[in-house]
Symmetry: C2
Subunit: 241 residues, 2 copies
């Protein structure tokens, strides 16, 4: 099936749907799509990522698929075994614990730096963001709260004024997203999460660096134990198949 570059290409459109620039390469687009599929759980951990199957699925050849897989391999979302194909990265319980510890530490570090170096404007925005989340927590909408939660933590990363740490925190957050999301559906977790955010935000706004560090570390560690509780109850189902 020669697809030929001259043939009509789907996305060839001028302004590109969903705001995506056509300036991105297929490999990048694929990396994003596959990452999305993994993070949302559409691709279960451990499932094989057949190059040809993915190529047909996304209407491209194997070459950009391979490039995307290698890219995702570096970021840790998929595991590429030398001549044995790629699989969605399987996180063992120990690795999950390490990921959570790492995220807690990085986020806490970001919080400390943010307390030291956020601008007045950034502090006001963080405050406003936290306030707006109170309603969501009361309303009890896990999905909406999860989105706002991402924004809140993102604001803290940004406030650290360190793109290296912020990028790392974001990548950890993405890798843990499937596990974190579930815990928002646990009764009462929303309100407690919001309370913990309040402690973090207050410390950052007041510039109390060590306190911000401790509060964020505690917050993320609590998320971890919440997730571990979930996993303990659903042992064995995580890996799928």
């Amino acid at each position: 099936m020669r697809q030929g570059r001259g043939a009509v290409r789907d996305g060839g459109g001028m302004d590109g749907r969903s705001g995506e620039r056509s300036g991105r390469t297929q490999a990048e687009r694929l990396a994003g799509e596959i990452a999305e599929a993994i993070v949302t759980g559409a691709l279960a951990p451990g499932s094989r990522l057949d190059e040809q199957a993915l190529a047909e699925r996304y209407g491209v050849s194997r070459t950009p698929v391979r490039e995307a897989l290698r890219q995702l391999g570096t970021s840790g979302l998929v595991e590429v075994r030398p001549r044995r194909g790629a699989v969605v990265a399987q996180v063992t319980a120990e690795q999950l614990a390490e990921l959570f510890v790492a995220m807690a530490e990085i986020e806490a570090t970001c919080a400390r730096l943010a307390a030291q170096s956020m601008s007045p404007l950034e502090r006001r925005r963080l405050d406003a963001l936290h306030d707006s989340m109170a309603d969501l927590a009361r309303a009890g909408d896990p999905a909406a709260y999860a989105r706002a939660n991402t924004a809140f933590h993102g604001a803290v990363y940004a406030g650290a004024h360190n793109t290296v740490l912020a990028d790392f925190a974001l990548s950890l957050r993405r890798r843990l997203q499937p596990y974190r999301e579930a815990q928002f559906r646990v009764a009462g977790r929303l309100a407690r999460s919001h309370d913990e955010h309040g402690v973090v935000a207050a410390a950052i706004l007041a510039g109390r660096a060590e306190e911000a560090h401790a509060a964020m570390l505690r917050h993320v560690t609590l998320v971890e134990s919440s997730v571990e509780g979930l996993l303990a109850r659903a042992t064995g189902e995580a890996g799928g198949a």
Copy 2:
């Protein structure tokens, strides 16, 4: 120039860095080689990475080169612009500062965790390693000290018992290597570095977590200011030779 798969392949050097199999693909080998060339300064920051040139240089086709470049792009060593080729990542002074801050924070975190969770054996080994460095510092051999220094910091990473943080610390360390190495040649820096290590090691061995954190943060921050002093004197030449 059809090279055929049957041609003699070097078979890999078995560098044994982290237990890699000999079955590495060309793309992986290339990623390693190119990364090495960048880290050692053979490829200056900002230089274009022409796919065909690299392919000829390493005796392969453009396909594995492209895969390697994309891999390096994700790890941050290389910047890949969508249709405009790849260049060795240019670190501006600000980014360099951010990298150092990030490394300082991560290393400090590792030190704190190490103080909390190193095994008695690991503690003894760290102590022995530090002792052996005293001679090197006195002898004033920058290269030998640099190697031992890497081992010392590596022991701290390992002692944190968190591969996620350890891997990140290692990748930051690699990215900063060209800049850090120079400062060991500054007169007196070796002895001072060893003294700082002593404070870090003592805190870790005694299990004083917060002290270990503070000592490591201070140590790496001092390295940073030392490097900045060097850069200030050699403005603009940063990439070169």
